[in-house]
């Protein structure tokens, strides 16, 4: 894959990668300043996708990353996020307010003493170590403490003198109610004395996911994370719609939530938070039955003709092994859960309101 040149100083870039283990959005805020939202690592790759991409782009981009945000703690979103944070010396870490709680931090510490694995909790354990080390080294204190996202909190603002256009990232979720609900569920994961050590495999719902509204000059984007539409007021998408009146303009680009799942689809979002026929980008989820299903694609295409997908949702055959091993495994049900890591890249002038976006697709990404 040839990624070509870096974006121009006044271009918004939204690069969506997925679905390796995890998924990732990389946003160019102008002036070689970037934000990374979630993280993924491609099959057989050593580096997280965003680190690899920015290294290929060159131009000191790793130093230009200012924010690394974990929308939630599921490992299908944040694989490699600690390594990414380590690679970006100027980046501050941000996550859901639900994760600053004592119970979650206890869970992280317990997990570091127990079965190490590749779960989202392990990634948070590594992040805590990086932040403690930054604090100890006393190099850049501003980057040593995380930013905790909660509804309507401004996470990043770039409007320095000399900048021709401002850039902001605002959290639209989680709501206070969602945080409370999430905390009660996280507390259930803390083991009791004498309970056997096990890995954490149950996933709490996604109500504490961080949804983001991004403004770069005249461009706007809404990143839906894994937030679901519970139908209950004060949480999920309904809590965000309550705030919709305070949003000055609808978004032109939409990262479809929860891999296009019907449980995350809320018609009010399309009507009130998005421009008509926005550019929608989604990443598949390859585990289990997989997402999106064909009916999900059809539903999304009925909402916008500009639907892009980073990869086909396909059941991948597992890696073939030695023939003796294969013979032994021939009757087993096996599903490789990593997908083909595709990449959709949008570049759009942040200063020229009548310009059209340039959308490129790499490594199996396609327009639905």
């Amino acid at each position: 894959m040839t990624v070509g040149n870096p974006p121009k100083y006044d271009e918004l870039e939204i690069s969506v990668f997925g679905p390796g283990r995890g998924e990732c959005i990389l946003v160019h805020m102008g002036y070689n300043e970037w934000c990374m939202i979630d993280s993924c690592v491609g099959t057989g790759k050593a580096l997280p996708a965003a680190v690899e991409y920015l290294t290929e782009l060159g131009g000191a981009s790793l130093e230009g990353v200012l924010l690394v945000l974990a929308t939630h703690w599921h490992d299908d979103h944040i694989r490699g996020i600690a390594e990414s944070l380590h690679s970006f010396p100027n980046a501050r870490f941000a996550c859901s307010s639900a994760l600053k709680n004592q119970e979650f931090l206890t869970l992280v510490q317990l997990q570091t003493k127990s079965l190490q694995g590749d779960s989202g909790v392990d990634e948070f354990g590594k992040i805590v170590k990086i932040l403690k080390e930054r604090k100890r080294l006393n190099v850049n204190q501003n980057n040593a403490a995380p930013v905790f996202a909660i509804q309507d909190r401004l996470l990043l603002q770039r409007n320095e003198i000399g900048r021709l256009f401002p850039a902001t990232i605002t959290a639209l979720s989680p709501s206070d109610v969602a945080v409370t609900l999430a905390l009660s569920k996280i507390a259930c994961f803390i083991p009791k004395p004498n309970q056997l050590q096990r890995r954490i495999t149950n996933r709490p719902p996604n109500e504490a996911s961080v949804v983001l509204f991004v403004e770069v000059g005249c461009r706007t984007a809404l990143f839906g994370a894994d937030l679901e539409h519970s139908g209950r007021a004060e949480e999920g998408w309904l809590a965000i719609l309550d705030l919709a009146q305070t949003r000055p303009q609808p978004a032109q680009v939409y990262k479809v939530p929860h891999h296009g799942s019907p449980s995350a689809d809320c018609i009010g979002v399309w009507q009130r938070l998005l421009e008509p026929e926005p550019i929608a980008i989604l990443t598949p989820f390859t585990s289990g039955k997989g997402l999106p299903q064909q009916q999900d694609i059809d539903r999304l295409k009925s909402r916008t003709p500009h639907l892009y997908c980073t990869s086909e949702r396909q059941v991948r055959l597992p890696k073939r092994h030695d023939k003796v091993v294969e013979k032994k495994l021939k009757d087993r049900t096996r599903i490789a859960i990593d997908g083909n890591l595709g990449h959709v890249r949008l570049r759009w002038s942040a200063t020229d309101a009548i310009s059209t976006p340039q959308i490129e697709m790499f490594n199996g990404a396609f327009k639905a």
Partner: protein
């Protein structure tokens, strides 16, 4: 010549014999080095003429052929070809689904694999629960008689339960981290 004494001094026959209950004398297996040393020491230096009966008794003991310990039953050998580490994700009726990570080649993608509970040994059955960790090996087993067969094995990891002090320690660390973050 090996020294057979505990103190650096050669043992006298009666002293040595006194350690040996009569009923057990014939059953003892003494290593060749020890027995050879004992025989030579006894005959050359410490067996005097004062107690001929004991001497005769002891000589008959130490000069009899010492039975070799029976060889342990030869065990089959396993040549592993593929190793995964698995974590149970979901338990179903009579089967379970695990996320397995290729330890032979970690760059291979993880897989979801279904196992039947009957594949698990009776002792490990109680460990089949979400979050349990196990190793899954496929390899070639060679029996002592030279027979070869392809085998796969599930070995569950037995980890100690959490103790109250570990949980307290983690809570304390969590408080410190929370304070660290809150200080900004």
């Amino acid at each position: 010549m090996p020294d057979t004494s505990l103190t650096g001094q050669p043992l006298k026959a009666d002293t040595f014999a006194s350690f040996l209950p009569n009923s057990n004398v014939g059953k003892l297996a003494i290593s060749p080095e020890l027995s050879g040393g004992a025989r030579q020491t006894f005959s050359q230096t410490t067996v005097d003429q004062e107690q001929p009966d004991n001497q005769q008794q002891f000589l008959s003991f130490v000069t009899r052929p010492i039975p070799k310990p029976p060889n342990p039953k030869p065990a089959p050998t396993l040549r592993p070809l593929q190793l995964w580490e698995g974590t149970i994700i979901e338990c179903q009726n009579g089967s379970f689904v695990a996320l397995v990570n290729d330890r032979t080649d970690p760059l291979n993608p993880d897989e979801l694999v279904t196992f039947e509970s009957v594949e698990v040994s009776k002792e490990d059955m109680k460990l089949i629960q979400p979050g349990a960790s196990f190793y899954w090996t496929v390899g070639v087993e060679r029996s002592p008689a030279g027979q070869i067969r392809n085998v796969e094995m599930l070995n569950f990891r037995r980890l100690p339960g959490w103790n109250a002090s570990s949980v307290r320690e983690a809570e304390q660390e969590a408080r410190e981290i929370a304070d660290l973050f809150a200080s900004e």
